[in-house]
Protein backbone atom coordinates (compact mmCIF):
# COMPACT_ATOMS: atom_id res chain seq x y z
CA UNK A 1 0.00 0.00 0.00
CA UNK A 2 1.32 3.36 -0.95
CA UNK A 3 1.87 5.95 1.71
CA UNK A 4 -0.74 8.09 0.02
CA UNK A 5 -3.54 9.51 2.04
CA UNK A 6 -5.97 6.98 3.50
CA UNK A 7 -9.36 6.67 1.84
CA UNK A 8 -11.22 7.13 5.08
CA UNK A 9 -9.87 8.90 8.11
CA UNK A 10 -12.15 9.06 11.10
CA UNK A 11 -10.47 11.02 13.84
CA UNK A 12 -11.37 11.04 17.49
CA UNK A 13 -15.05 10.30 16.96
CA UNK A 14 -17.04 10.79 20.13
CA UNK A 15 -20.75 10.10 20.46
CA UNK A 16 -22.89 10.22 23.57
CA UNK A 17 -26.52 9.25 24.04
CA UNK A 18 -28.21 11.06 26.91
CA UNK A 19 -24.86 11.46 28.65
CA UNK A 20 -23.86 7.84 28.18
CA UNK A 21 -20.80 7.60 26.05
CA UNK A 22 -21.18 5.22 23.11
CA UNK A 23 -17.93 6.14 21.35
CA UNK A 24 -14.97 7.83 22.99
CA UNK A 25 -12.32 9.34 20.71
CA UNK A 26 -12.29 6.50 18.24
CA UNK A 27 -9.84 6.87 15.38
CA UNK A 28 -10.11 4.57 12.37
CA UNK A 29 -8.40 4.54 8.97
CA UNK A 30 -9.19 2.56 5.88
CA UNK A 31 -6.95 2.58 2.81
CA UNK A 32 -7.99 2.01 -0.77
CA UNK A 33 -8.81 -1.58 -1.61
CA UNK A 34 -8.11 -3.09 1.79
CA UNK A 35 -10.46 -5.15 3.93
CA UNK A 36 -10.40 -4.12 7.57
CA UNK A 37 -12.24 -5.92 10.32
CA UNK A 38 -13.96 -4.25 13.24
CA UNK A 39 -14.78 -6.52 16.14
CA UNK A 40 -15.85 -6.06 19.71
CA UNK A 41 -18.34 -7.30 22.28
CA UNK A 42 -22.00 -6.40 22.21
CA UNK A 43 -22.73 -2.78 22.89
CA UNK A 44 -19.15 -1.79 22.13
CA UNK A 45 -20.40 0.82 19.66
CA UNK A 46 -19.70 -0.85 16.34
CA UNK A 47 -23.03 -0.06 14.74
CA UNK A 48 -22.94 3.43 16.27
CA UNK A 49 -19.58 4.00 14.60
CA UNK A 50 -21.04 2.88 11.26
CA UNK A 51 -23.95 5.24 11.73
CA UNK A 52 -21.57 8.12 12.48
CA UNK A 53 -19.47 7.36 9.42
CA UNK A 54 -22.40 6.91 7.04
CA UNK A 55 -24.08 10.09 8.25
CA UNK A 56 -27.12 8.74 10.06
CA UNK A 57 -25.80 10.01 13.38
CA UNK A 58 -23.93 13.23 13.94
CA UNK A 59 -20.90 12.64 16.13
CA UNK A 60 -20.53 15.02 19.07
CA UNK A 61 -16.87 15.46 18.33
CA UNK A 62 -14.37 14.37 15.75
CA UNK A 63 -13.78 14.67 12.05
CA UNK A 64 -14.47 12.25 9.23
CA UNK A 65 -12.50 12.71 6.04
CA UNK A 66 -13.17 10.67 2.94
CA UNK A 67 -11.22 10.70 -0.27
CA UNK A 68 -9.59 13.97 0.70
CA UNK A 69 -12.66 15.91 1.81
CA UNK A 70 -14.43 16.40 5.09
CA UNK A 71 -17.78 14.68 5.46
CA UNK A 72 -18.88 16.65 8.48
CA UNK A 73 -22.47 17.80 8.10
CA UNK A 74 -23.18 15.84 4.93
CA UNK A 75 -26.39 13.77 5.01
CA UNK A 76 -26.45 10.05 4.27
CA UNK A 77 -27.42 10.32 0.62
CA UNK A 78 -24.67 12.83 -0.17
CA UNK A 79 -22.05 10.57 1.38
CA UNK A 80 -23.48 7.66 -0.60
CA UNK A 81 -22.98 9.57 -3.83
CA UNK A 82 -19.37 10.25 -2.84
CA UNK A 83 -18.78 6.50 -2.69
CA UNK A 84 -19.72 5.30 0.78
CA UNK A 85 -22.09 2.35 0.82
CA UNK A 86 -23.29 0.08 3.58
CA UNK A 87 -25.31 -2.98 4.46
CA UNK A 88 -27.31 -3.47 7.61
CA UNK A 89 -27.14 -5.78 10.59
CA UNK A 90 -30.88 -6.14 10.45
CA UNK A 91 -31.53 -6.46 6.78
CA UNK A 92 -33.10 -3.37 5.17
CA UNK A 93 -34.49 -4.11 1.75
CA UNK A 94 -37.13 -2.11 -0.10
CA UNK A 95 -40.32 -4.02 0.53
CA UNK A 96 -42.65 -4.64 -2.36
CA UNK A 97 -39.94 -4.72 -5.02
CA UNK A 98 -38.33 -7.61 -6.79
CA UNK A 99 -34.63 -8.30 -6.68
CA UNK A 100 -33.73 -6.64 -9.95
CA UNK A 101 -35.65 -3.48 -9.06
CA UNK A 102 -33.67 -3.13 -5.83
CA UNK A 103 -30.51 -2.92 -7.90
CA UNK A 104 -32.03 -0.75 -10.62
CA UNK A 105 -33.11 1.81 -8.04
CA UNK A 106 -29.60 1.93 -6.64
CA UNK A 107 -28.14 2.22 -10.14
CA UNK A 108 -30.41 5.16 -10.89
CA UNK A 109 -29.73 6.83 -7.56
CA UNK A 110 -25.98 6.63 -8.08
CA UNK A 111 -26.14 9.56 -10.43
CA UNK A 112 -28.09 11.66 -8.00
CA UNK A 113 -31.56 10.72 -9.06
CA UNK A 114 -33.86 11.21 -11.96
CA UNK A 115 -35.59 14.28 -13.16
CA UNK A 116 -39.26 14.81 -12.50
CA UNK A 117 -39.72 16.17 -16.00
CA UNK A 118 -38.40 12.99 -17.55
CA UNK A 119 -40.88 11.07 -15.41
CA UNK A 120 -43.72 13.31 -16.50
CA UNK A 121 -43.12 12.58 -20.16
CA UNK A 122 -42.56 8.88 -19.53
CA UNK A 123 -38.85 8.86 -20.32
CA UNK A 124 -37.51 7.23 -17.21
CA UNK A 125 -37.64 3.53 -17.96
CA UNK A 126 -34.40 1.68 -17.24
CA UNK A 127 -31.97 1.96 -20.11
CA UNK A 128 -30.40 -1.06 -21.75
CA UNK A 129 -27.10 -0.07 -20.18
CA UNK A 130 -28.58 0.05 -16.70
CA UNK A 131 -30.24 -3.33 -17.12
CA UNK A 132 -27.01 -4.83 -18.35
CA UNK A 133 -24.98 -3.51 -15.43
CA UNK A 134 -27.61 -4.80 -13.10
CA UNK A 135 -27.65 -8.24 -14.72
CA UNK A 136 -23.86 -8.44 -14.44
CA UNK A 137 -24.14 -7.74 -10.72
CA UNK A 138 -26.84 -10.38 -10.28
CA UNK A 139 -24.57 -12.79 -12.09
CA UNK A 140 -21.56 -11.97 -9.92
CA UNK A 141 -23.58 -12.63 -6.78
CA UNK A 142 -25.29 -15.71 -8.16
CA UNK A 143 -28.67 -14.03 -7.88
CA UNK A 144 -29.74 -14.39 -11.50
CA UNK A 145 -32.29 -17.13 -10.76
CA UNK A 146 -33.93 -14.89 -8.17
CA UNK A 147 -33.97 -11.71 -10.26
CA UNK A 148 -37.75 -11.51 -10.61
CA UNK A 149 -38.70 -12.74 -7.19
CA UNK A 150 -40.14 -10.30 -4.65
CA UNK A 151 -37.65 -9.82 -1.85
CA UNK A 152 -40.16 -10.97 0.73
CA UNK A 153 -39.84 -14.50 -0.59
CA UNK A 154 -36.06 -14.66 -0.27
CA UNK A 155 -34.17 -16.41 2.48
CA UNK A 156 -32.11 -14.26 4.82
CA UNK A 157 -28.94 -15.41 3.08
CA UNK A 158 -30.17 -14.40 -0.35
CA UNK A 159 -31.52 -11.18 1.12
CA UNK A 160 -28.07 -10.30 2.46
CA UNK A 161 -26.62 -10.88 -0.99
CA UNK A 162 -29.23 -8.58 -2.51
CA UNK A 163 -28.31 -5.93 0.03
CA UNK A 164 -24.67 -6.36 -0.88
CA UNK A 165 -25.51 -6.12 -4.57
CA UNK A 166 -27.55 -3.02 -4.01
CA UNK A 167 -24.66 -1.39 -2.18
CA UNK A 168 -22.22 -2.40 -4.93
CA UNK A 169 -24.40 -0.95 -7.67
CA UNK A 170 -23.48 2.48 -6.38
CA UNK A 171 -19.84 1.67 -7.24
CA UNK A 172 -18.65 2.51 -3.76
CA UNK A 173 -15.05 3.26 -2.94
CA UNK A 174 -15.70 2.06 0.57
CA UNK A 175 -18.24 -0.45 1.78
CA UNK A 176 -19.37 -0.87 5.38
CA UNK A 177 -20.63 -4.37 6.10
CA UNK A 178 -22.52 -4.76 9.36
CA UNK A 179 -22.44 -8.41 10.43
CA UNK A 180 -23.03 -9.92 6.98
CA UNK A 181 -23.01 -13.46 8.40
CA UNK A 182 -25.50 -12.80 11.20
CA UNK A 183 -28.37 -15.25 10.92
CA UNK A 184 -26.73 -17.28 8.17
CA UNK A 185 -25.88 -20.92 8.57
CA UNK A 186 -22.36 -22.12 8.00
CA UNK A 187 -22.67 -22.87 4.37
CA UNK A 188 -24.21 -19.49 3.71
CA UNK A 189 -21.55 -17.79 5.82
CA UNK A 190 -18.88 -19.55 3.82
CA UNK A 191 -20.52 -18.53 0.54
CA UNK A 192 -20.79 -14.96 1.75
CA UNK A 193 -17.05 -14.90 2.47
CA UNK A 194 -16.31 -16.24 -0.99
CA UNK A 195 -18.50 -13.60 -2.60
CA UNK A 196 -16.81 -10.86 -0.61
CA UNK A 197 -13.40 -12.05 -1.75
CA UNK A 198 -14.59 -12.10 -5.34
CA UNK A 199 -16.02 -8.62 -5.02
CA UNK A 200 -12.81 -7.29 -3.62
CA UNK A 201 -10.67 -8.85 -6.29
CA UNK A 202 -12.91 -7.55 -9.01
CA UNK A 203 -13.60 -4.00 -7.96
CA UNK A 204 -10.90 -3.19 -5.39
CA UNK A 205 -13.55 -1.77 -3.13
CA UNK A 206 -12.27 -1.08 0.36
CA UNK A 207 -14.35 -2.83 2.99
CA UNK A 208 -14.83 -2.19 6.68
CA UNK A 209 -16.34 -5.35 8.12
CA UNK A 210 -18.12 -5.74 11.45
CA UNK A 211 -18.42 -9.41 12.21
CA UNK A 212 -18.78 -11.84 15.08
CA UNK A 213 -17.81 -14.88 13.10
CA UNK A 214 -14.13 -15.06 13.95
CA UNK A 215 -13.15 -17.59 11.27
CA UNK A 216 -14.69 -15.34 8.65
CA UNK A 217 -12.82 -12.30 9.95
CA UNK A 218 -9.59 -14.30 10.01
CA UNK A 219 -10.11 -15.42 6.46
CA UNK A 220 -10.91 -12.01 5.02
CA UNK A 221 -9.42 -9.16 7.01
CA UNK A 222 -5.82 -8.04 6.81
CA UNK A 223 -6.12 -5.63 9.71
CA UNK A 224 -8.39 -5.44 12.73
CA UNK A 225 -9.77 -2.79 15.03
CA UNK A 226 -11.21 -3.87 18.37
CA UNK A 227 -13.82 -1.75 20.10
CA UNK A 228 -14.84 -2.25 23.70
CA UNK A 229 -17.30 -0.03 25.55
CA UNK A 230 -16.80 2.77 23.05
CA UNK A 231 -12.98 2.69 23.24
CA UNK A 232 -10.58 1.38 20.67
CA UNK A 233 -8.61 -1.20 22.65
CA UNK A 234 -6.47 -2.74 19.92
CA UNK A 235 -5.59 -2.43 16.26
CA UNK A 236 -3.13 -4.05 13.90
CA UNK A 237 -2.64 -7.11 11.69
CA UNK A 238 -5.42 -9.65 12.19
CA UNK A 239 -3.37 -12.48 13.69
CA UNK A 240 -1.56 -10.25 16.16
CA UNK A 241 -4.75 -8.65 17.36
CA UNK A 242 -6.51 -11.98 17.80
CA UNK A 243 -3.60 -13.20 19.90
CA UNK A 244 -3.62 -10.11 22.09
CA UNK A 245 -4.48 -11.15 25.66
CA UNK A 246 -6.53 -8.00 26.26
CA UNK A 247 -8.65 -8.77 23.21
CA UNK A 248 -9.07 -12.37 24.26
CA UNK A 249 -10.29 -11.30 27.67
CA UNK A 250 -12.70 -8.66 26.43
CA UNK A 251 -14.11 -10.42 23.48
CA UNK A 252 -13.12 -13.89 22.50
CA UNK A 253 -13.17 -15.59 25.88
CA UNK A 254 -10.94 -18.45 26.82
CA UNK A 255 -12.36 -21.16 24.62
CA UNK A 256 -11.64 -19.72 21.22
Amino acid sequence: MSEAQALLEAERITKRFAGISALEEVTVEVHRGELVGLIGPNGAGKTTLFDCLSGKLRPDEGDVRFDGRSLVGLPVHRRARLGLARTFQRIELFSGMNVRDQLLVAERARHGGGSFLRDAVGLSRPTADEIERCDRMLDLLGLTPDADRPIESLSLGRGRLVELGRALMTEPKLLFLDEPSSGLDRRETHDMGTVLQAVQERSHTAILLVEHDVPMVQRLATRLYVLDAGHLIASGPTREVLDDPAVRAAYLGVGV
Partner: protein, 241 residues
Protein backbone atom coordinates in the same frame (compact mmCIF):
# COMPACT_ATOMS: atom_id res chain seq x y z
CA UNK B 1 -41.69 -43.38 30.12
CA UNK B 2 -44.64 -43.19 32.45
CA UNK B 3 -45.16 -39.44 32.66
CA UNK B 4 -46.14 -37.42 29.64
CA UNK B 5 -43.39 -35.29 28.15
CA UNK B 6 -43.54 -31.57 28.89
CA UNK B 7 -44.02 -30.79 25.26
CA UNK B 8 -45.06 -32.92 22.38
CA UNK B 9 -45.75 -32.03 18.77
CA UNK B 10 -47.85 -34.57 16.90
CA UNK B 11 -47.85 -34.37 13.13
CA UNK B 12 -47.84 -30.56 13.12
CA UNK B 13 -48.13 -28.58 9.91
CA UNK B 14 -48.05 -24.82 9.99
CA UNK B 15 -47.29 -21.78 7.90
CA UNK B 16 -47.88 -18.12 7.20
CA UNK B 17 -50.83 -17.27 5.01
CA UNK B 18 -50.54 -19.28 1.84
CA UNK B 19 -47.03 -20.39 2.65
CA UNK B 20 -46.44 -23.76 4.34
CA UNK B 21 -43.41 -23.87 6.59
CA UNK B 22 -43.86 -27.20 8.41
CA UNK B 23 -45.07 -30.54 7.16
CA UNK B 24 -46.08 -33.15 9.72
CA UNK B 25 -43.47 -32.44 12.37
CA UNK B 26 -43.49 -34.74 15.40
CA UNK B 27 -41.16 -34.84 18.38
CA UNK B 28 -41.28 -34.64 22.15
CA UNK B 29 -39.34 -32.91 24.91
CA UNK B 30 -39.36 -35.12 28.03
CA UNK B 31 -39.09 -33.40 31.41
CA UNK B 32 -35.61 -32.29 32.36
CA UNK B 33 -34.02 -32.96 29.00
CA UNK B 34 -32.52 -30.68 26.39
CA UNK B 35 -33.59 -31.02 22.78
CA UNK B 36 -31.87 -29.12 20.00
CA UNK B 37 -33.47 -28.28 16.69
CA UNK B 38 -30.91 -27.85 13.96
CA UNK B 39 -31.08 -27.42 10.24
CA UNK B 40 -30.23 -24.93 7.54
CA UNK B 41 -31.81 -21.51 7.27
CA UNK B 42 -35.39 -21.74 6.13
CA UNK B 43 -35.85 -25.29 7.38
CA UNK B 44 -38.66 -24.13 9.65
CA UNK B 45 -36.83 -24.03 12.99
CA UNK B 46 -38.22 -20.69 14.07
CA UNK B 47 -41.71 -21.78 13.08
CA UNK B 48 -41.38 -24.83 15.31
CA UNK B 49 -40.43 -22.57 18.22
CA UNK B 50 -43.40 -20.34 17.52
CA UNK B 51 -45.79 -23.27 17.33
CA UNK B 52 -44.53 -24.49 20.70
CA UNK B 53 -45.37 -21.18 22.40
CA UNK B 54 -48.64 -20.68 20.55
CA UNK B 55 -47.50 -17.69 18.51
CA UNK B 56 -48.25 -19.59 15.33
CA UNK B 57 -51.23 -21.94 15.26
CA UNK B 58 -50.79 -25.26 13.48
CA UNK B 59 -52.97 -25.82 10.45
CA UNK B 60 -53.12 -29.50 11.35
CA UNK B 61 -51.72 -31.73 14.05
CA UNK B 62 -51.65 -31.25 17.80
CA UNK B 63 -49.48 -29.58 20.40
CA UNK B 64 -49.47 -31.20 23.85
CA UNK B 65 -48.13 -29.66 27.04
CA UNK B 66 -47.91 -32.14 29.92
CA UNK B 67 -50.12 -34.40 27.87
CA UNK B 68 -52.91 -31.82 27.58
CA UNK B 69 -53.91 -30.67 24.16
CA UNK B 70 -53.14 -26.94 23.88
CA UNK B 71 -53.63 -26.68 20.13
CA UNK B 72 -55.42 -23.40 19.49
CA UNK B 73 -54.82 -22.08 23.01
CA UNK B 74 -53.79 -18.45 23.34
CA UNK B 75 -50.11 -17.70 23.78
CA UNK B 76 -50.55 -16.46 27.33
CA UNK B 77 -52.26 -19.69 28.33
CA UNK B 78 -49.32 -21.71 27.07
CA UNK B 79 -46.95 -19.33 28.85
CA UNK B 80 -48.82 -19.83 32.12
CA UNK B 81 -48.22 -23.55 31.83
CA UNK B 82 -44.54 -22.83 32.23
CA UNK B 83 -43.40 -22.61 28.62
CA UNK B 84 -41.11 -19.60 28.18
CA UNK B 85 -40.13 -18.56 24.70
CA UNK B 86 -37.15 -16.35 23.91
CA UNK B 87 -37.87 -15.36 20.32
CA UNK B 88 -35.12 -14.75 17.81
CA UNK B 89 -33.87 -11.27 17.12
CA UNK B 90 -34.47 -8.14 19.13
CA UNK B 91 -37.47 -9.25 21.08
CA UNK B 92 -37.67 -6.51 23.71
CA UNK B 93 -40.12 -3.68 24.36
CA UNK B 94 -38.12 -0.84 22.87
CA UNK B 95 -40.20 1.91 24.47
CA UNK B 96 -39.92 0.48 27.99
CA UNK B 97 -36.83 0.74 30.12
CA UNK B 98 -34.71 -2.31 30.83
CA UNK B 99 -36.16 -2.57 34.30
CA UNK B 100 -39.73 -2.19 33.04
CA UNK B 101 -39.14 -4.94 30.50
CA UNK B 102 -38.12 -7.28 33.28
CA UNK B 103 -40.77 -6.09 35.72
CA UNK B 104 -43.52 -6.78 33.22
CA UNK B 105 -42.51 -10.39 33.12
CA UNK B 106 -41.62 -10.89 36.79
CA UNK B 107 -44.79 -9.27 38.15
CA UNK B 108 -46.81 -11.85 36.26
CA UNK B 109 -44.62 -14.77 37.28
CA UNK B 110 -43.55 -13.93 40.82
CA UNK B 111 -46.18 -11.44 41.99
CA UNK B 112 -45.49 -8.07 43.60
CA UNK B 113 -43.20 -9.41 46.30
CA UNK B 114 -41.03 -11.57 44.08
CA UNK B 115 -40.31 -8.92 41.49
CA UNK B 116 -37.40 -7.34 43.34
CA UNK B 117 -35.67 -10.68 43.77
CA UNK B 118 -36.15 -11.46 40.12
CA UNK B 119 -34.60 -8.15 39.09
CA UNK B 120 -31.63 -8.75 41.37
CA UNK B 121 -31.04 -12.16 39.82
CA UNK B 122 -31.30 -10.77 36.30
CA UNK B 123 -28.70 -8.10 37.03
CA UNK B 124 -26.47 -10.66 38.63
CA UNK B 125 -26.70 -12.75 35.48
CA UNK B 126 -25.97 -9.81 33.20
CA UNK B 127 -24.33 -6.96 35.15
CA UNK B 128 -24.41 -4.89 31.99
CA UNK B 129 -28.21 -4.75 32.19
CA UNK B 130 -27.97 -3.52 35.75
CA UNK B 131 -25.82 -0.63 34.59
CA UNK B 132 -28.45 0.28 32.04
CA UNK B 133 -31.59 -0.45 33.98
CA UNK B 134 -33.08 3.00 33.45
CA UNK B 135 -32.22 3.13 29.77
CA UNK B 136 -34.91 2.44 27.16
CA UNK B 137 -34.46 -1.05 25.79
CA UNK B 138 -34.63 0.34 22.28
CA UNK B 139 -31.43 2.29 22.88
CA UNK B 140 -29.47 -0.85 23.78
CA UNK B 141 -27.19 -2.42 21.24
CA UNK B 142 -28.32 -5.54 19.43
CA UNK B 143 -26.37 -7.83 21.72
CA UNK B 144 -27.59 -6.13 24.87
CA UNK B 145 -31.16 -6.54 23.73
CA UNK B 146 -30.46 -10.22 23.32
CA UNK B 147 -29.18 -10.30 26.89
CA UNK B 148 -32.38 -8.67 28.08
CA UNK B 149 -34.51 -11.30 26.39
CA UNK B 150 -32.38 -14.00 27.93
CA UNK B 151 -32.35 -12.48 31.38
CA UNK B 152 -36.12 -12.56 31.36
CA UNK B 153 -36.51 -16.23 30.50
CA UNK B 154 -33.54 -17.48 32.47
CA UNK B 155 -34.69 -15.89 35.72
CA UNK B 156 -38.18 -17.26 35.28
CA UNK B 157 -36.79 -20.80 35.51
CA UNK B 158 -39.65 -22.07 33.41
CA UNK B 159 -40.56 -25.74 33.09
CA UNK B 160 -39.64 -25.54 29.44
CA UNK B 161 -37.46 -22.91 27.83
CA UNK B 162 -37.79 -22.46 24.09
CA UNK B 163 -34.69 -20.54 23.01
CA UNK B 164 -34.49 -19.38 19.41
CA UNK B 165 -31.04 -18.55 18.05
CA UNK B 166 -29.54 -17.62 21.38
CA UNK B 167 -26.10 -16.84 20.09
CA UNK B 168 -27.22 -14.74 17.15
CA UNK B 169 -25.35 -11.45 17.28
CA UNK B 170 -23.61 -12.19 20.55
CA UNK B 171 -19.89 -11.86 20.98
CA UNK B 172 -18.18 -15.23 21.47
CA UNK B 173 -17.44 -14.49 25.10
CA UNK B 174 -21.09 -13.76 25.84
CA UNK B 175 -22.25 -16.81 23.93
CA UNK B 176 -20.15 -19.00 26.18
CA UNK B 177 -21.59 -17.30 29.22
CA UNK B 178 -25.09 -17.88 27.96
CA UNK B 179 -24.50 -21.55 27.40
CA UNK B 180 -22.98 -21.91 30.83
CA UNK B 181 -26.11 -20.35 32.29
CA UNK B 182 -28.30 -22.62 30.22
CA UNK B 183 -26.47 -25.56 31.69
CA UNK B 184 -27.21 -24.29 35.18
CA UNK B 185 -30.87 -23.68 34.40
CA UNK B 186 -31.12 -27.16 33.04
CA UNK B 187 -29.48 -28.66 36.10
CA UNK B 188 -32.15 -26.85 38.13
CA UNK B 189 -34.80 -28.85 36.29
CA UNK B 190 -35.83 -26.76 33.28
CA UNK B 191 -36.30 -28.64 30.05
CA UNK B 192 -34.76 -26.95 27.02
CA UNK B 193 -35.78 -26.69 23.41
CA UNK B 194 -32.91 -24.98 21.64
CA UNK B 195 -33.00 -23.72 18.10
CA UNK B 196 -29.43 -23.34 16.91
CA UNK B 197 -27.37 -22.65 13.85
CA UNK B 198 -24.12 -23.55 15.50
CA UNK B 199 -24.07 -27.28 15.65
CA UNK B 200 -21.25 -27.62 18.17
CA UNK B 201 -23.06 -25.39 20.64
CA UNK B 202 -26.24 -27.36 20.20
CA UNK B 203 -24.59 -30.74 20.49
CA UNK B 204 -22.65 -29.76 23.59
CA UNK B 205 -25.79 -29.29 25.61
CA UNK B 206 -28.49 -31.38 23.92
CA UNK B 207 -29.57 -34.91 24.82
CA UNK B 208 -31.58 -35.22 21.69
CA UNK B 209 -31.37 -33.60 18.31
CA UNK B 210 -34.14 -32.93 15.82
CA UNK B 211 -32.84 -32.20 12.35
CA UNK B 212 -35.26 -30.19 10.25
CA UNK B 213 -34.96 -29.96 6.53
CA UNK B 214 -37.43 -28.11 4.34
CA UNK B 215 -40.10 -28.18 6.98
CA UNK B 216 -39.84 -31.91 7.63
CA UNK B 217 -38.10 -33.85 10.34
CA UNK B 218 -35.05 -35.49 8.80
CA UNK B 219 -33.68 -37.10 11.94
CA UNK B 220 -34.64 -37.45 15.57
CA UNK B 221 -32.42 -39.18 18.04
CA UNK B 222 -29.80 -38.97 20.74
CA UNK B 223 -27.21 -36.33 20.03
CA UNK B 224 -24.34 -38.81 19.92
CA UNK B 225 -26.04 -40.88 17.24
CA UNK B 226 -26.35 -37.93 14.96
CA UNK B 227 -22.90 -38.54 13.45
CA UNK B 228 -23.45 -41.28 10.89
CA UNK B 229 -27.12 -40.84 10.07
CA UNK B 230 -26.91 -37.23 9.13
CA UNK B 231 -23.29 -36.98 8.12
CA UNK B 232 -24.11 -36.18 4.55
CA UNK B 233 -26.53 -33.46 5.56
CA UNK B 234 -24.21 -31.84 8.03
CA UNK B 235 -20.96 -32.07 6.13
CA UNK B 236 -21.91 -29.08 4.07
CA UNK B 237 -22.16 -27.04 7.23
CA UNK B 238 -19.00 -28.33 8.86
CA UNK B 239 -16.51 -27.57 6.19
CA UNK B 240 -16.23 -23.86 6.71
CA UNK B 241 -13.84 -23.58 9.64
Amino acid sequence: MTTAPILELVDVSAGYGAFRALFGVSFAVPAGTAVAIVGPNGAGKTTVARVCSGLVQPTSGRVLVDGDDVTGAATHQVARRGVAHAPEGRSVFATLSVEENLTLSFRQAFGRTGTGDGLARAYELFPRLGERRRQLAGSLSGGEQRMLTLARVLVLEPRLLVADELSLGLAPIVTEDVYRTLGRVRAAGTALLIVEQHLDHALAIADEVVVLDRGEVGFVGPAHELGDRAASFLSAHEETV
